[in-house]
């Protein structure tokens, strides 16, 4: 394992296009390892011993063959450029047990070559011409030894050390040391390492060099980004791609990698729907391109690709069984199923396995994804094997989470007086508050009205534990490198009960190169097991509004208290759920094989083969103990549900790449095809009639088992895609991408569509005029793109008219029923989006400051709606159809990164982004005749709503008033509705990260900000006066004629209509802007002396927090989730990160 990799300074193709090639040449791999058994393979390689005596029998053998034979016997490796061997002669040789040196002398006799031996490498090069030799009058060759460290004095391994002009070099070992033999004393050494400033040093006769490398200022343009089928350096990129590094994801204590992207990427809007682990987040790139009513939420999701394999963002949670928080609503005939809730599939992905995430936004970047690129593309790349000494990285941290915010609710006294006042206002106190109806008013007539419980504390006030551990091993030799990572995450909830989401994950990546460096194979495997055990109630949080005088949760015997009155429970014990469980076990396997073979210079064949299996087993248990008497002892009510859902997909993507340098031009061509198949199925069983709670998870103990639902679906997808890139003079760029797609989601004749884009760029800073006149502008590029992408995210089989069995509903006359599945329309087509973008990218002061600004406009036409609303008189609520709505999204995104201060010991870096986004329904001919006429409005954003205009509380009557055409203050007709843009999305949003480091101490914090309006808590609360608690805000209610206030009088039912109208009015709109300290990380690197003493190569301790502070004027629980849903949690963890 003590292999020394050698750096090859002249790769055959340009780095920015072929990072894999560069990797190949960098580490000089040979294909030897064929078994996937990684460790065994290594042992094999290192254990092999070589003889120093060579025996050869060659007749007219090409030189390469002789080299191979010598390599096999000696363990030495030849290193040469293919070009140099063109002029060589064949070799005829017969030797037995010769020394290596003797064999080499014989082999190189009469060849126009010379060789040198360094370590176990035999460097071969052309003999220098006589003319050149004459100039070479310098001092005799010397050996140069050196050691390279970073700014902190720590040794740096793998640093490239090359001699300028010569085609040879070396890399440093684990101690940072290197040796260059037979070096011209006048030569210049170039020392480079990714992320560090390059150093050029004149040897000037010195034989020992000690060099300290400084971390390079992170320059946007040097980052290589992936555009899926090809990679490009940001400098030459004509499209809009943002890369988030894995390290920025891993420093946040979240278990879902998507959550770590929140606020980090301009134009990427992520909204958490709940603070419970594993729940779904809404992800949108540059707004909502499509009408969503009637569509699955996934219709607006970007396309996700993990290591080249598409990954479905659709939850696996069964739609057939009530899964509580992970619930996914049951399909309704004629409506689109699976409205996107359920466990997020990203909950199965360990953020620690991620190398980087790229967000592809404009047409130039997304059109190559054709029919699936409309909503943008998110590429997730997992960590790749790194050659070098075996290295272990360990990261352990643990902490806890708490709810971020609580409401200010009424106490018992205030609550009871609210209730009584409500009855008085309604004039029905006497008729109602009589024992006959006691059960209807238990809070007043049955319960102890002096009790007080803070239900927020009970329901969401708990501490949730958080623990995370990752260990990874990496290393490799010349041929093969690997990384293997193991991770564990456990996250609790803030609700009472033993609920947890736990994940174990394993990641493996193996890279192997053939001896001639032409064949590269890469295997990557991701496995995870997620065990989610969450409450079965969907809206637990509603219970925080329980009357404060509600009875104790447990009775004297420690059982759930039902506070029965005449045998009937007077309340629904909020902790009843704690006896129920919704368990979902998800197994995710992603296996991927990448092959690439260089056929000719510049021509490479590649294939990407992937197979993904994602499966979920759900168990939902409703024991009798969760029920109120008398049902709690009835076998029929002990129920359990079991479901299995599978999603299996394979992909085959062969591809040809061609690249050519011709004078000042550079061409890149790519052509490929995709075959993809996704099959999914889901089955659910319901069981009931258990004689005891302890039998409830054994389906055999049930007296009655029925199939609740069974579905299966197949999706086939086929495409041709291509890309042509052209660069002139390293500064004029043009990029063309196109794709022809076929999808089985469309009916016959409608299956294929064409998509494409053009991107152009001009790196104006490379023009001499700029470099002379504006030297402070170190980099400048203008780019623009235009193209068409599509969206087929509508679900399978929507074009087919079918009947399905009624699920789990018994039979009639002994046979099950068949019911029409949906209204079918085979005549629908792709939804198309036209994207246009113009951007400028600038670097100042040697790229210490980078600034980029994009201006974009996306227009989507031909809206494809799976359940375009229809009146129920048609028998169904909707039908799949194309609608002529034209939607526009436009905006500006600005990203800035700067190194404000950089000295030897103190660095301050800051990066930030801000997006201004506007959405508008430009046109919708015939909207009046569709079900959308009260949902969407031409000329307004899609998020605009129709509401009444609130004018205040009538000082005389004490009820809410609204602008109404009839002047009464009570809205009567739809004519009184106005269109309001308050809920149309943020006015602007973004994030700002600061990173400060002083010696070993590092402080990083990230502020996320959103400027928006939202609906306050009132919108989701019951009317003040009913048997539900309220915020203290309602104390300000109207009481007497003449009172001027914004809260109407309490009511028990009589004045509910104005309240409901109020909820439908602009009176509930409020400023929901916020600035959130999304995370803060404080870490300290132990000094090298200490670290070495404890036998580590690196050791860091850290303290991290997520959602630590939120600054907002919002009235309610949380401005992000809004309304009555579980607010995001504040998480604080502490831990260590160490390398061995």
């Amino acid at each position: 394992m003590d292999c020394k990799a050698l750096f090859v300074p002249v790769p055959k193709v340009r780095d920015r296009e072929f990072p894999h090639r560069r990797l190949v040449t960098q580490i000089l791999l040979k294909m030897r390892l064929t078994a996937i058994m990684l460790f065994a393979g290594f042992l094999h390689v290192s254990a092999k011993t070589y003889s120093q005596k060579i025996t050869l029998q060659e007749k007219d053998a090409p030189l390469q063959k002789v080299f191979r034979d010598i390599e096999k016997q000696s363990g030495y490796q030849f290193f040469f450029a293919d070009n140099d061997l063109r002029q060589t002669k064949t070799v005829t040789l017969s030797v037995k047990d010769f020394d290596l040196n003797e064999v080499l002398t014989l082999t190189f006799k009469d060849q126009p070559l010379t060789y040198s031996i360094s370590e176990k490498t035999i460097m071969v090069k052309l003999k220098e011409k006589e003319s050149e030799k004459k100039i070479d009058n310098g001092p005799p060759p010397i050996d140069v030894h050196g050691r390279i460290t970073n700014e902190k004095g720590e040794p740096m391994e793998g640093v490239n050390v090359i001699i300028k002009g010569a085609k040879s070099g070396t890399t440093t070992d684990a101690d940072g040391a290197f040796t260059l033999r037979n070096v011209d004393g006048n030569s210049t050494v170039i020392i480079s390492f990714v992320g560090y400033e390059q150093q050029i040093i004149k040897v000037a006769g010195k034989t020992a060099l000690v060099i300290k490398l400084n971390q390079a200022v992170q320059s946007l343009k040097d980052v290589t980004v992936s555009k899926g089928y090809y990679d490009v350096k940001q400098e030459y990129n004509t499209g809009s791609v943002v890369k988030v590094e894995g390290k920025d994801i891993q420093k946040q204590p979240v278990s879902d990698p998507i959550l770590a992207l929140e606020g980090r990427v301009a134009g990427l809007e992520i909204t958490q729907t709940s603070g419970l682990p594993g729940t779904y987040s809404t992800v949108r790139i540059r707004g909502q391109n499509t009408i969503t009513i009637g569509k699955p939420v996934t219709a607006t999701d970007p396309l996700y690709i993990i290591d080249g394999v598409p990954f479905s963002s659709q939850t696996l949670t069964s739609p057939f069984i009530g899964g509580g928080i992970i619930n996914r609503p049951a399909p309704v005939v004629g409506k689109v199923d699976g409205i996107g809730q359920g466990l997020s599939p990203f909950n199965s992905i360990n953020p620690s396995d991620i190398e980087s995430i790229e967000v592809l936004k404009d047409a130039d970047a997304t059109a190559i994804y054709g029919s699936r690129g409309a909503n943008g593309v998110i590429l997730i790349t997992t960590k790749k094997g790194k050659s070098g000494k075996l290295k272990a990285d360990i990261n352990l941290n643990a902490g806890f989470s708490k709810a971020t915010h609580f409401l200010d609710l009424l106490n018992t006294e205030q609550y009871i007086s609210m209730r009584l006042e409500a009855f008085r206002n309604d004039g029905r106190l006497k008729s109602n508050l009589v024992p006959q109806y006691a059960n209807y008013y238990p809070d007043l007539l049955i319960w102890d009205t002096t009790r007080y419980t803070d239900w927020q504390k009970v329901i969401i006030g708990n501490k949730a534990s958080f623990a995370n551990g990752n260990i990874s091993l990496s290393g490799g030799n010349e041929n093969t490198s690997f990384v293997a990572g193991l991770g564990y995450t456990s996250q609790g909830t803030t609700v009472p009960g033993d609920y947890k989401d736990r994940r174990v994950s394993l990641h493996l990546n193996l890279i192997n190169t053939s001896a001639n460096k032409r064949f590269l194979s890469q295997i990557s495997v991701l496995y995870s097991n997620d065990n989610s055990n969450l409450p079965t109630e969907t809206d637990l949080i509603q219970n925080i509004l329980l009357p404060p005088d509600a009875p104790p949760i447990y009775d004297a015997n420690g059982n759930l208290n039902w506070a029965t009155y005449h045998g009937s429970p007077t309340w629904r014990n909020p902790l009843a759920y704690s006896n129920k469980n919704a368990i979902a076990i998800t197994d995710l396997y992603i296996a991927n094989l990448g092959l690439s073979y260089q056929l000719l210079q510049g021509l490479t064949l590649r294939a990407n083969l992937g197979y993904t299996v994602n499966q979920m087993d759900q168990t939902i248990l409703w024991p009798g103990s969760a029920l109120a008497p008398p049902l709690n002892n009835n076998a029929d009510f002990r129920q359990s549900f079991f479901s299995t859902s599978n999603n299996k997909s394979w992909i085959v993507e062969p591809q040809i790449n061609y690249s050519k340098e011709a004078g000042k031009s550079h061409f890149d061509l790519l052509f490929g095809t995709t075959f993809q198949s996704v099959s999914s199925d889901s089955r659910a069983l319901a069981a009931r009639g258990f004689s005891s709670d302890i039998l409830i998870s054994n389906i055999q103990a049930a007296s009655d088992v029925s199939v609740v639902g069974s579905t299966e679906a197949l999706y086939h997808y086929n495409a041709f895609y291509g890309r042509a890139g052209y660069t002139l003079q390293d500064r004029y760029l043009i990029n063309l991408a196109g794709r022809r797609d076929g999808s089985s989601r469309f009916g016959p004749g409608k299956q294929f569509g064409n998509f494409g884009a053009i991107g152009i760029g001009w790196i104006f800073s490379k023009d001499t005029w700029f470099s002379q006149n504006l030297p402070m502008v170190s980099f400048g590029k203008l780019r623009a793109s235009y193209g068409i992408a599509g969206n087929d995210n509508i679900g399978d089989y929507q074009y087919l008219s079918t009947y399905s069995p009624i699920s789990g509903s018994g039979s009639y006359q002994g046979s099950g029923g068949l019911r029409p599945t949906l209204l079918a329309n085979s005549d629908f087509r792709w939804e198309e989006i036209k994207k246009i973008e113009a951007a400028v990218e600038l670097g100042f002061l040697k790229d210490r400051i980078n600034l980029s600004a994009s201006l974009y406009r996306n227009r989507t036409d031909n809206q494809l709606i799976p359940a375009s609303p229809l009146p129920n008189i048609t028998g169904f609520g909707g039908v799949t159809a194309n609608l002529p709505a034209l939607i526009q999204n436009q905006g500006i995104e600005i990203a800035l990164s700067a190194t404000a201060i950089k000295s030897r010991s103190f660095t301050w870096k800051t990066t930030g982004n801000i997006s201004f986004h506007r959405n508008k329904l430009l046109n919708f001919p015939g909207i009046e005749n569709t079900g959308y006429r009260y949902s969407y409005f031409v000329g307004y954003p899609l998020g605009a709503t129709q509401v009444y205009h609130y004018t205040g509380v009538d000082p005389q009557t004490g009820v809410y008033m609204f602008a109404s055409k009839n002047g009464t203050g009570a809205p009567l007709s739809p004519d009184d509705l106005i269109i309001d843009k308050s809920l149309a999305g943020p006015l602007y949003s973004g994030g700002l990260e600061n990173s400060l480091s002083y010696k070993g101490l590092q402080l990083e914090f990230f502020l996320q900000f959103v400027k928006q309006n939202g609906q306050d808590y009132v919108n989701l609360s019951p009317y003040p006066g009913t048997n539900s608690n309220q915020t203290t805000y309602v104390l300000n209610r109207w009481q007497h004629p003449g009172d001027l206030t914004n809260v109407q009088k309490f009511t028990r039912g009589t004045f509910t209509q104005p309240f409901y109208d109020f909820q439908l009015s602009d009176g509930t709109f409020t400023d929901a802007s916020y600035v959130r300290l999304k995370y803060l990380s404080l870490s300290y690197n132990l000094s090298q002396n200490v670290v070495r003493k404890i036998h580590f190569s690196n050791f860091m301790i850290f303290l991290r927090g997520q959602n630590l502070l939120t600054f907002t004027k919002y009235k309610g629980l949380d401005p992000e989730t809004q309304g009555l849903s579980m607010p995001p949690m504040r998480t604080i963890t502490a831990g260590i990160q160490a390398s061995l």
């Binding site: 005449h566 009937s568 049902l631 007296s703 197949l714 069995p805 018994g810």
Partner: protein, 468 residues
């Protein structure tokens, strides 16, 4: 090179159109093949009954109209809009959506079987007959609950999405057309799962069911001669007789059942009505109780009072509830009864004929029919003074309907509307609405359900009922 050539081969595979043409999943059946197969067509029809039973349609209609009218009491917040006659276009009333979905399924069967030839003709005839009957049945409930409604007789959603409301008379005409057609097509007897063989289970509509519903339709549309004629057809049918004991009337295949819905889970015998009404403890928030107005309408000797009403008492308070259906989800099954949901029964036919006869001035015949019902209830014959007076006799019949048909398919509420008594009962002078805590508008608009706002939103030609 082997690697290279295999990679080249992969690239060269090219696009195949066949690859993206997939066959439908095995979990569904393509519509066209449903109506090519006797068994599948049968399943498509009986799915409607399964769904009607599972959706508790019988209980929902009686519960919601019972709260609206004077039969039930329930103060739970979710029931308040019904109880206080304060329905809003946003209040959830399942009837509209459910009924039009059943009508869609019926239309699909009529269309599918009229154009395909794969189904045995005799089976197709019975299935189309039943589908027409179902279409008529649900149009009848829609028109009585909502007033003028769109008539839907096909599955084409494009024109149907823009339908406007037809007048009640037009709806009645369509119902009469469907029922007359159904009478022609349906079997005389009750069919079993083969759709042609006759069985004793009265759970599929037969000729008599269509005739009985048509009698009711004619009564509602005041075509009294036709109402009498059709009611007589059923009354004279030897298969039907009033159950001697009222307590047995709602048993499966009772002698007065003209059409019932069977339970759909073989192991469970409870009906939606039983689950919804029977109290085993003091009422919880969702349990309705019988109102004093209804309880007080019974004569103390009435066997229906003792058989069809039960109560739960905690010693201090007593709560009364409908007990026509006695089997309850919680294992309450007195005498191991087997109950089906009663859809049409003979007692109503007597009352239809009685009313039709009064309207045609056949007071003697009317009193005879009325007394059949009273006699079974253990009551004496109607007083001669009443029997001799048309108005008094009509009132007596209306009262008899109230106590015979209470909490059953909305009869009481629809009777109040069709006899134009609703304003005087709910509003002044009866003031039921006020006593329930609501306000009755003299314009009587609360007699009809509001059309759901989502429907108004999605169908540009659909208007709201006045007053909402």
């Amino acid at each position: 090179m082997r690697i290279a050539s295999s990679l080249l081969l992969l690239v060269g595979l090219g696009s195949c159109k066949k690859f993206v043409q997939i066959s439908p999943p095995s979990t569904v059946i393509v519509s066209a093949s449903v109506f090519d197969n006797d068994g599948a067509a049968h399943s498509a029809l009986t799915a409607i009954y399964t769904t009607m039973f599972n959706a508790n349609e019988s209980w929902l209609v009686s519960y919601q109209t019972g709260l609206l009218g004077d039969e039930l009491v329930n103060l739970d917040a979710s029931a308040t809009p019904f109880y206080e006659n304060n329905l809003l276009p946003t209040t959830t009333v399942n009837l509209w959506n459910d009924a039009y979905n059943y009508i869609y399924q019926a239309n699909a069967i009529i269309e599918g079987l009229s154009t395909q030839s794969g189904v045995t003709p005799a089976i197709a005839e019975q299935l189309i007959g039943e589908a027409k009957f179902i279409r008529a049945y649900w149009h009848f409930y829609l028109v009585n609950a909502y007033g003028d409604i769109p008539i839907v007789t096909n599955t084409n959603y494009i024109p149907n999405a823009k339908l406007s409301r037809s007048s009640t008379a037009e709806v009645y005409q369509q119902i009469a057309l469907d029922l007359s057609s159904a009478i022609q097509m349906l079997n005389l007897g009750y069919v079993n799962q083969t759709d042609t063989t006759i069985t004793t289970d009265r759970i599929r509509p037969c000729k008599a069911a269509a005739t009985a519903l048509l009698a009711r339709l004619y009564l509602y549309s005041q075509k009294y001669d036709s109402a009498e004629l059709h009611a007589s057809t059923t009354i004279s049918d030897v298969r039907y007789s009033l159950a001697p004991n009222p307590g047995d009337a709602f048993l499966a295949n009772s002698s007065e059942a003209i059409w019932q819905l069977a339970t759909t889970q073989p192991n469970y015998l409870q009906t939606g009505d039983g689950n919804g009404y029977v109290l085993l403890a003091g009422p919880g928030p969702l349990n309705p109780q019988l109102s004093a107005w209804l309880l007080n309408s019974f004569d103390s000797a009435d066997l229906r009072r003792s058989n069809w009403i039960s109560s739960y008492s905690d010693g201090t308070n007593t709560w009364y509830f409908p007990y026509k259906y006695q089997v309850y989800d919680d294992g309450n099954n007195p005498n191991n009864r087997t109950e089906y949901v009663m859809m049409l029964r003979l007692a109503e036919q007597y009352l239809i004929r009685a009313e039709a006869r009064v309207q045609q001035n056949n007071l003697i015949g009317a009193a005879g029919d009325l007394n059949m019902i009273r006699q079974r209830a253990g009551l004496h014959a109607i007083a001669d003074s009443i029997a001799a007076d048309k108005d008094l006799l009509l009132t007596a019949i209306l009262h008899e309907r109230q106590v015979e048909l209470f909490c059953e398919w909305g009869h009481r509420w629809f009777d109040l509307i069709r006899t134009a008594n609703i304003n005087s009962v709910m509003g002044s002078p009866g003031n039921i609405c006020q006593q329930k805590g609501g306000t009755w508008n003299p314009d009587g608009h609360q007699a009809l359900f509001p059309i759901q706002q989502t429907e108004i939103n999605t169908d540009p030609n659909l208007s709201q009922n006045p007053g909402y």
